[in-house]
């Protein structure tokens, strides 16, 4: 299993380094000397620490992306990143699992479709970080947890009413590298 994941990671790194070959050329590239699609990403010199890095390092994830969440989502009020008391037991279930199982936890923060996009990216991150704070208090090692904010993207319910929005204002919890 571990070998398979490692192989996937190596493949991902290879794709990242030489990626986009085989992608369709943007039309505006026609006639330019460079040819090819968008070039590969070239990493730049790593940035030095700008203070204590308190968010855990990103886990390496295989080519298939993240698996489905195996926990109950934690729901939020509109425009709020506060964990409601009604959600506490869901976080306790996550903490209990993490303390007795290997792997890393990715906390995904989401918003409903109302509101401006970039503000919602920050709000979704605060929702993920709020759960992370609570999980730290519940005894989960901070270095095993990382966050992703999707903002308004990837709603779980495509409806346009309060029932749908309430389902979309959420944190999801995904365990990887088990």
């Amino acid at each position: 299993m571990r070998t398979k994941i490692l192989a996937q990671v190596v493949l991902m790194a290879f794709i990242a380094a030489f990626g986009l070959t085989g992608c369709k050329n943007p039309p505006w590239k026609k006639g330019t000397s460079g040819g090819g699609g968008l070039g590969a990403e070239s990493p730049i010199a790593p940035l030095g620490p700008g203070g204590e890095t308190s968010v855990g390092p990103r886990p390496m994830v295989g080519e298939g992306g993240l698996p489905q969440s195996q926990f109950q989502p934690v729901y939020f009020d509109y425009d709020s990143a506060r964990i409601k008391p009604s959600e506490d037991s869901k976080l306790e279930a996550v903490a209990t699992y993490m303390k007795s199982n290997p792997g890393k936890l990715v906390i995904e923060g989401y918003c409903d479709e109302r509101g401006t996009a970039e503000y919602n990216r920050a709000l979704g991150e605060r929702r993920a970080l709020a759960a992370r704070e609570q999980l730290i208090k519940l005894g989960v090692d901070p270095s095993r947890m990382s966050t992703i904010s999707y903002g308004k993207d990837r709603p779980v319910d495509l409806g346009h009413d309060e029932a749908a929005w309430a389902k979309n204002r959420r944190d999801e919890f995904v365990v990887v590298n088990q």
Binding site: W28, P43, G50, D79, R121, A122, D153, H160
Partner: protein, 402 residues
């Protein structure tokens, strides 16, 4: 100029002009009669159509019958598979003065660009102001469940997809020289700040810290990038060198900071913070220190964007933003003397993400109606809104290029 640079990007596009322009600096909205062009009827028709649209979008002219217009245009076109030639004369009727007489050559596929150049010359000659007809707009193109970056002409034509990542690529911002675009990409799963060089297509990872990396925005001199990072446990505002490194943290709050825009002089950064409970617009020196809150009401203000009009412009720098009022999102302008937000696009739709044109007079923004989002232009002087040609799937988060 950005104009020359786009030649490389677009390919063999080229425009040359010979000028006998007589500069006549007059200001305001003037009546303009487009008589059309002699020569090949099909080409003449297209040139006339693009010219009329450009003149209308410029905001400086009201199209009028040639007989009664202050300015009247005449001209001729010639074209075949190998090339296109457009000659244009603009006369002020009352004085019988020729204010512009130019001929333009380009490749056969280059008709719109040729006319955009002609329009900018007409605007410059008659008003003394910089036109926008040759500018570009970057935007997020929703294609099914993925979001890709795209660039198009300011009038919504010639949309070209930039990314083919089948992921989420959002929040593009231009470098001041028009060569690069920074944006937020989820192609490596986590939100990273990437930069794409429009000359070469080369991409670079600018910020890939744990947590959120987003909101990257070039300083007016292009040397520094402001952005949001959550690596220290909360979404905060940072600056970094545009070449990488030299990271500085600016804010220390319990709320989230996002959406930086540089003040016109480049000395301060205006941004969104919800540290006071609801999202409002704040400002901080580029070196950090104490921040000051700009907006008080309405109760939700986000997505600030400073205009940066040219030095000789009639326009003053203005701060556009998105407000939520009565559950609807509207575009507003912040008045620094009163602290009030003046709505400029407020209707039954949701209007978001304003981005200034380099003339400091026009905005592009995203309008959502019936849960479909498309881009519109606004002339803040006339108040006129124009819908850009609809993009299949939807267009959002526009960024007007330099």
């Amino acid at each position: 100029m950005g104009n020359g640079k786009w030649l490389m990007v677009i390919g063999f596009a080229w425009v040359t002009a010979t000028s006998h322009a007589q500069v006549n600096v007059v200001k305001g909205r003037r009546s303009f009669g487009v008589s059309g062009f002699g020569g090949d009827a099909a080409i003449a028709g297209q040139v006339t159509e693009v010219l009329k649209n450009d003149l209308r979008l410029s905001g400086y002219f009201a199209l009028a019958p040639a007989s009664s217009a202050e300015f009247v245009q005449s001209g001729a076109v010639r074209g075949d598979r190998t090339g296109l030639s457009v000659e244009c004369v603009v006369m002020q009727q009352a004085t019988k003065r020729v204010v512009l007489s130019k001929s333009y050559q380009g490749s056969a596929q280059d008709l719109r660009r040729v006319v955009h150049k002609l329009t900018d010359d007409i605007v410059q000659t008659i008003t003394g102001q910089r036109g926008i007809a040759q500018t570009k707009i970057a935007f997020v193109w929703t294609r099914g469940s993925v979001k890709e970056l795209a660039v198009m002409d300011y009038d919504g034509y010639n949309a070209h997809q930039l990314t083919y990542d089948k992921s989420i690529s959002v929040r593009p911002r231009w470098s001041p020289d028009g060569r690069k675009i920074v944006y937020t990409s989820y192609k490596n799963l986590f939100p990273d700040v990437l930069e794409v060089d429009l000359y070469t297509g080369q991409r670079r990872r600018l910020a890939t810290f744990p947590g959120l990396n987003s909101g990257a925005t070039f300083s007016p001199d292009g040397a520094t990038i402001a952005l949001t990072l959550s690596k220290d446990g909360n979404p905060e505002l940072y600056t970094m060198s545009a070449t990488g490194g030299d990271l500085h943290r600016l804010t220390h709050t319990r709320g989230g900071e996002s959406s930086p825009t540089w003040s016109p002089d480049g000395q301060a950064i205006t941004y969104v913070s919800d540290d006071s409970g609801a999202p409002q617009i704040w400002m901080i020196n580029r070196a950090g220190g104490a921040s000051s809150r700009l907006t008080v009401s309405p109760s939700y203000n986000t997505e600030p964007d400073w205009s940066r009009p040219p030095a000789n412009s009639d326009m003053k720098p203005m701060l556009a933003l998105t407000s939520r009022v009565g559950g609807r999102f509207q575009i507003g302008l912040f008045d620094s003397s009163t602290g009030a937000v003046r709505p400029v696009v407020a209707d039954s739709a949701d209007n978001e993400d304003p981005s200034w044109a380099p003339d400091g007079r026009h905005l592009v923004f995203a309008k959502t109606q019936h849960w479909r989002t498309q881009l519109y232009l606004l002339d803040v002087v006339t108040g006129e809104q124009v819908q850009l040609p609809a993009v299949e799937g939807g267009a959002s988060e526009p960024a007007w290029g330099p």
